[in-house]
């Protein structure tokens, strides 16, 4: 076997800076005596320098603009960082159970009115409620005598009992009751 072959790996390790002191001394000693390995060492070192010195590429100036636009178009409309579902990760037995459960529950759920988002502000002593209907339109109502205590700007109705909450939910039937107390409408 060619004795120089053993030093080839050591040359690579040396160029990578991963050679321990003892092996490094042995390699240095060998390089002083072997011109072939010295040439090989120099070639590898030069190759590495050429690769390191390759000019760095840069993305085009409008890269960030395009990326922002793509995020706005492809991700944000779906509600921020939309979670992706990996079908492989789904455990099918519990998933099937959940589907059956949802089907069973759906009959009772469908009987109930849909939730309507509602936001209430107090302006100059008047209670103004901004209600978003099912169609998504915003209508401002001035409410004369609001039937519930308002504890904060946002609130939630759960079974007619007011609860302070960040995101307010109002059941459809409560909305109807509220409309009975509406004195004027402002847009």
């Amino acid at each position: 076997m060619d004795p120089c072959e053993n030093f080839l790996k050591a040359i690579f390790d040396f160029v990578d800076g991963e050679l321990d002191r003892k092996s490094r001394r042995e390699l240095e000693h060998h390089l002083r005596e072997c011109s072939r390995c010295t040439e090989q060492f120099n070639r590898i070192r030069r190759l590495r320098n050429h690769l390191r010195e390759l000019p760095q590429m840069k993305v085009q100036d409008h890269f960030m603009i395009i990326l922002r636009e793509r995020i706005r178009r492809e991700i944000v409309p779906r509600g921020g960082a939309a979670p992706t579902i990996n079908l492989k990760q789904i455990s099918w037995v519990p998933a099937l159970g959940l589907i059956v459960f949802l089907i069973l529950m759906s009959s009772s759920i469908l009987d109930r009115p849909l939730p309507v988002f509602n936001q209430v502000h107090t302006v100059q002593g008047q209670k103004i409620s901004s209600m978003q209907g099912i169609a998504g339109s915003n209508i401002n109502y001035v409410i004369d005598d609001f039937p519930y205590d308002i504890e904060s700007e946002y609130f939630e109705y759960d079974n007619k009992k007011p609860v302070t909450h960040i995101d307010s939910l109002l059941l459809k039937r409560d909305l109807k009751k509220m409309k009975a107390h509406i004195r004027a409408v402002s847009f």
Binding site: R43, R48, H50, L51
Partner: protein, 207 residues
Amino acid sequence: MVDLLDKTKKMDELTDVRVKVTPSDEELIKRFQEGDVYAFEQIVHRYKNQLINFVYNFIGNRIEAEDIIQETFLRVYKNKHLYRNIAKFSTWIYTIAGNLAKTELRKRRRRRLLSLNKIGYNDKDYDVPDLFASPEERVDGGMKEKEIREKILDLPQKFREVVILRDIEEFSYEEISNILKIPIGTVKSRVNRGRLKLQKSLQHLLD
């Protein structure tokens, strides 16, 4: 003596400030996971040129490389919740970019195959990939650079990716092992074999 202590203290404070204003990649992705979109922009700013360098050397087409980097950042944005702080962020994002680049190469091979089938064996007009897109690069980049990049592209894929990651991107063997999900020993052997092949094809530049 007191002055010296004061100066040392001030230097320490300055160092602290510097450390604080340069968050690590892992801190940035954590902030982004918590909803800080500005942290994502900092990640993009930090990685966009590094990644284009890696992908361009890997596939040899600037426009496609830029598309891949765009897609890489979109995936980071969409899948930020999948990053766990057990691996370095850089290895995670390079894995995404590398996988997308490999997919692009597979598509290209398929396209070329279809194209060759369509042309037939006797036609000379083969579908050669556009290696260096802009004419300015051909002039400004210099022949040596052009030749080195071409020889890198001539390397088989498994040698090319490790040589780029090790000798151009300067990742450690352990990091490359994490990016490519292969053992360190395999990485080392591929890097060395890739270097020998490259050395052979670029001999006139190295002697």
